[in-house]
Amino acid sequence: MNKALFGLYLFFTVYVSSLRELNLLLLLFFVLFSVLFALKRRRLKGFFKGFLYTALFSLMLSLPYSLWSSSFDYSIMMLLRVLNLYMLTLMFISTVNLYSLLSFSKTLSFLLVISVSFTLAYRRVFENFQQALRSRSIEKPKRQELLNFLRRIMGYFFERALRDGQEVTMAMKSRGFDHD
């Protein structure tokens, strides 16, 4: 089921990203928009923020060209295409569990899961480092102080990465997981 949805998603992504007819793009826009709304709304946290952000971003890229060539069709086509792709992706990730897509390979899904969990953990510690710097700084830190801070951050996460890599490797071995 997930794989079928994934295939469908890929197909539509390629299809939509090659569309150029405004009518078709507009039709798709309304279809996608209504489907998204029909889906449970609480799964679409931050939908509007992302939507607006994506729209603005697209306009930022395309408007200068439209102004220069005074063909606003272009900006409209890009805007619709970008938003359609955005909604398509959102629809996909709000219905499909990304990890289950990798279930065909134990190694790959394991890789993704621990990468995400390491990254989330590191990000939180990194945030703490930044807060500690803010907390201890009475004045705005000088360049040299920031460089010291940077060096420490890199040193800390470098060592932590080596240690975590080693630890998980050993843990895997002790659980008899050493095919590779």
């Binding site: 807060q131 907390s135 010291n148 420490r152």
Partner: protein, 254 residues
């Protein structure tokens, strides 16, 4: 000295502090108790103005503390100088090349002359047993030493409000005793977080308890709380043991 009024805080969409209100007067030694994940660290960061209430208000010396208050240089200077937080993980506080530089960091920012800086650093290094380590890089110390160093870095500034996030977590019993004595000597207001019931009594005379539901479920004298089994259970600080202990209760001071 500080006051929280109906403060809420959420990370993304998860409420971590719920309707918290209390005042702390100058010179009080307050203990903040709560189980893992109850929001102790979050509350202390909020009091240190590293994060700001999603709802409600925080006042420091009668002034409202908001994100925009920190645009005012004088306020920022005063606040950062007077309010100090010892992070739960002391490692995140240490980033200078040597222990000496680490302790001198804030003093140098304040523009102290090098002799004055040296004098202060040496005084506190001696008090904390860090003198032999002044030239080594902080990241080479043991975790307990890091914790002591991080605290020493805060005390060189003589803060008015000291926020301590599980300051004894990495200390051995001897250092813990030493720290408890030291805290009572300090003239400043102190808020210490812990999940250790038996230590709570030694760390302060007033108790704030964060419940599992992220609200403030107790504010008062420590002894009264320890006798109130209902509240202890609610805070998740007590386990009911059905066998062995004659069906009674059993506290866990881990």
């Amino acid at each position: 000295m500080i006051e929280l009024r109906e403060v809420y805080y959420s990370y993304d969409h998860n409420i971590t502090l719920k309707n918290i209100s209390f005042k702390v007067r100058e010179g009080e030694k307050v203990v903040l108790l709560g189980i893992n994940g109850s929001g102790k660290s979050t509350l202390l960061k909020l009091l240190n103005a590293l994060i700001f209430p999603t709802e409600g208000a925080y006042y420091y010396k009668g002034e409202r503390v908001e994100e925009k208050s920190f645009k005012n240089k004088d306020f920022r200077r005063t606040f950062r100088r007077e309010v100090a937080l010892l992070f739960q993980n002391p490692e995140v506080m240490l980033f200078n090349p040597t222990v000496y530089d680490e302790m001198a960091f804030s003093l140098r920012q304040l523009g102290f002359r090098e002799e004055e800086t040296r004098e202060k650093v040496e005084y506190w290094a001696d008090k904390f047993g860090l003198s032999p380590l002044l030239k080594s890089p902080p990241f080479e110390l043991s975790l307990g030493q890091k914790q002591r160093l991080a605290l020493a870095c805060l005390l060189v500034l003589s803060p008015k409000l000291l926020l301590l996030d599980e300051p004894t977590a990495h200390l051995d019993p001897k250092s813990t005793g030493w720290l408890v004595d030291l805290l009572w000597e300090l003239p400043c207001t102190i808020i210490t977080s812990t999940h250790n019931l038996s230590l709570a009594e030694e760390l302060g005379d007033r108790l704030l308890v964060l419940g599992q539901d992220h609200t403030l479920i107790y504010d008062g004298r420590i002894e009264d709380f320890l006798r109130d089994e209902e509240k202890l259970l609610k805070a998740g600080l007590l386990h009911r043991h059905r066998y062995r202990d004659k069906g009674g209760y059993h506290t866990h001071g881990f």
